[in-house]
Symmetry: C3
Subunit: 280 residues, 3 copies
Amino acid sequence: MEPESIEKSEPTGWASKAWALLSAVRSQSPLIQCITNFVSMDLMANTLLSAGASPAMIHSIVEIPDFTPHANALYINVGTLSPDWLPAMKAAAELACRTGKPWVLDPVAVGASGFRLRACLELVELKPTVIRGNASEVIALSKASVGPTKGVDSSHESTHAVDAAKSLSKASGAIVAVSGAVDIITDGELVVGAHNGVAMMQRITATGCSVTALIAAFVAVDPSHAFEATASALSVFGIAGEMGMKMANGPASLRMHLIDSLHGLDEADVLSRVNITGYR
Amino acid sequence: MEPESIEKSEPTGWASKAWALLSAVRSQSPLIQCITNFVSMDLMANTLLSAGASPAMIHSIVEIPDFTPHANALYINVGTLSPDWLPAMKAAAELACRTGKPWVLDPVAVGASGFRLRACLELVELKPTVIRGNASEVIALSKASVGPTKGVDSSHESTHAVDAAKSLSKASGAIVAVSGAVDIITDGELVVGAHNGVAMMQRITATGCSVTALIAAFVAVDPSHAFEATASALSVFGIAGEMGMKMANGPASLRMHLIDSLHGLDEADVLSRVNITGYR
Amino acid sequence: MEPESIEKSEPTGWASKAWALLSAVRSQSPLIQCITNFVSMDLMANTLLSAGASPAMIHSIVEIPDFTPHANALYINVGTLSPDWLPAMKAAAELACRTGKPWVLDPVAVGASGFRLRACLELVELKPTVIRGNASEVIALSKASVGPTKGVDSSHESTHAVDAAKSLSKASGAIVAVSGAVDIITDGELVVGAHNGVAMMQRITATGCSVTALIAAFVAVDPSHAFEATASALSVFGIAGEMGMKMANGPASLRMHLIDSLHGLDEADVLSRVNITGYR
């Protein structure tokens, strides 16, 4: 679905919401359990810490009954999935689903193999609160198809995945976010676009994984408004990228300045920069 | 136990000891085998390299008989523990214990689950030379209790863990260090506080894991003075943080400047900044 | 073998080749499957991304039949090897060998244990296109010997491994590269030295792993000239280090500036700096 028209939503509405959520993360420091891939653990933990949240990379199935109940949100990312990690992911998601704890799924490279696709479809059955992927991932998950893939990088534009995202959202009950030049967020009916961020963020590994962790932190502090929390987290992370880009000379310095900026964001930065628009 | 009085110890004593140990690490380049968590491997290896040591992240049980005898110290960290990693940790610790090789335990989030607590208690039986944790971890390990936890972050001040640290030290025979705003180090009787460091280091993932690796390197070059080596390593890492903080704009740039500073520390930096005081 | 004489090769030949290969990586964005160690995944992925390639850290044996055929090159690195990862490495290498896909082996710390040595020898049987190690690793692999080792760091100079490299190249059919102050590259007969780089790169973890990933990307875009691609990748990575060093204050800032520089390298940088000489 191409948007019939794009109109900037009432700025203060989204901007003040985003600021309120970031402030709540900073003051409440929600505990986010991440069962994630090996590549992203470092940047993801630093993203959560710089936003004020408390990360815990605890992945063993034997610890889930004791630990997961204490987490404020759960985040599952299949980037380096193997069969021995999947049971813990399912057990944790099942516990979250059963106890009403928000949880977020990042179906990294879901189209890379039949194993990965089936694993993600099983996880989707456990009612994630939010699913965040790039366009290729959301399309593959929505169509339940394996196909030629660019690994973890998308070969589609996010705006070409709006129909797939709405369909996946309706089928799963999850908020679905498609990141890209414009981040698309939908609850199956409403669709908004978050326009913050810079292109060079795609030249840094694990930025997608890390913004999904930030979504988990935002949802943790306002679980009854997951749509707003998801759009706000994507916008805030993009703003940190925009501000970081002013000081960056390439992807590695951008990575550093992005995290510094996320840590230092103040109300004026957020209020003046949030750029979330409705699709209608 | 609250300190009855805190008095700055003879500065040149601790400062010259710390400088001598750092110099020995640089000149001897001890080989430190790390069986550690996935989150911290990158920063830990870079911490050891910048201090002049030689890290080796070798964790498979099949390699322990061939490799561990060549290491100058062993470091075990349970941050992302799973049942398949525990036997190698125990085999390596047992070999170190049997052959008199110094080894250091970081009981990350020991209170997170019964599995993790039992694993750490089994490791403590294998006579670590040093145990380093935050206050919540040292209290949980000392009391052998699982409980509500803030994941890997502490919900206690280090100075509130002095009794627990002394008790754990007496029971285990290990030097026990509690990191925090003040780092507490005890051999069960003597207690000192290392006052170096900056608060923002707690907003960088794996700084606790990494300073424990530095403790292993310091102990490797002076195994018969593990108390002094532990306090010195904590102080030196804190100094690198203080110097890095002068150039930092947030946690990510602090992480970079901390490592650069650790690499560049000279005698004047160490002699003028070491701040270790006795509790008595 | 010590070189009888060293003569700078025709500069424009190597330099223009290196620039052409980097340009091809940027324009084709080859998909590089990395089955690698936990320590290096972050820097390796960022190295590939900053060079314009597309990394995929997919290591599970169940995904190899679906995913590996789509990769433009395969890279296997045994840095944190364990028995449960080896079958996937062998399956992927076997598939690459059978289908004519280029693949690159990094035998990290091959002399650390009998297990690791046997694993690497089995991988060498699967006809890697390129093998890249430090001098100690190439000597150990060439002699098929386990011995006292400095972990992952070399205790030999690269120029002392020329005979071992030629012998390993002849026995395996692979291009063999020995990194060090001078990087040695041989096809078993021809030997060249790549002189780019700075010493401080050895104080950053995973630079060796990461340059090998860059070799895989260069070979992916010109698989029929693996010798030239290997020498060019080593030279280009070294140039990024040289340029990064001008802005660095220590190993952590060098790591950042190296990646930024790799991303920003232009034709003049490459043409003026490539320093590859023939041994004859």
